[in-house]
């Protein structure tokens, strides 16, 4: 904003104040999910004229959804699973034990950390029975989700 040619005649301090005020107003409105009438009333109390209020509200309305998504994504949460990869192997022997003949799965859960954007993936191995147990439990969770949405 400080580099904008249209605004170069205005005192930078005033500009900063305006920017901060506008940003605070927008963020508060977004946080509270305020509707247009509430915002208009608030701006009227601040003695802005009709035209400016309408302009502000139109712009706000245009960007409201993006703003809500952004605000909703701020905050801490446990590591978030984004994807899963799996590998199926058939073990035939190791140096300690020959003729093992067992299928085994290697599962990696791709995980995203909202704070640092790092990717501390979780990997583990499991037998077929264990994978069935895992999938069964996930399906229970999904079913319970479905039931919750129908309530």
């Amino acid at each position: 904003i400080l580099d904008d040619p249209d605004l170069k005649d205005i005192d930078p301090t005033v500009l900063k104040h305006c920017h901060a005020a506008a940003a605070t107003c927008i963020l508060e409105a977004g946080k509270q999910k305020a509707d247009i009438s509430a915002i208009s009333t608030c701006l009227e109390d601040c003695k802005l004229d009709r035209e400016r209020i309408e302009q502000f509200c139109t712009e706000y309305q245009k960007n409201k959804d993006a703003l809500e998504i952004l605000l909703g994504s701020i905050g801490r949460s446990p590591l978030h699973i984004t994807d899963v990869s799996w590998r199926l192997e058939y073990q035939i022997k190791s140096n300690q034990l020959h003729k093992t003949y067992q299928p085994s799965y290697l599962v990696t859960l791709n995980v995203e950390n909202s704070d640092s954007g790092s990717h501390p993936d979780v990997s583990f191995s499991c037998t077929m029975e264990q994978l069935q147990d895992l999938v069964g439990k996930l399906k229970d969770a999904a079913k319970s989700l479905e039931r919750a949405t129908q309530m």
Binding site: I74, Y90, Q96, V107, L138
Partner: protein, 150 residues
Amino acid sequence: KLNVGVDTIQHGVEGLTYLLTESSKLMISEIDFQDSICVLGFSDELNKLLLQLYLDSRKEIRSILSELAPKLPSYHSLEWRLDVQLASRSLRQQIKPAVTIKLHLHQNEDQTAQVLQTDPSTLLHLIQQLEQALGEMKTNHCRRIVRNMK
């Protein structure tokens, strides 16, 4: 009590251990085992005892040996919980469903539990992917390999 020297006993135990672990590791058949110990020149009765000992302890020895192979953390169990986020410091009046999961893993006798979270659409994606994984063992390709590797 046995009236033999300590060294002899030690060698005896070591020999027996080696015999049993190698036989269990290679999973040799009864006949092969009998042929192998025949050359040692023991009595028939002793040979029979050794064979019986081998057959009895083979399974246990193999399960102990399987613990020595290189391993990744292995799955133990999973707990889940359904959550709905209603508000946060930055945004009020939300309805954000999430599934919180506690994954229990084993690694070399250590148990770890990790708390993870996912959203409903990712959960469905996970289920679909893992079901595909489970289905792989039943394909012709895998079945053929399993048959031919025995």
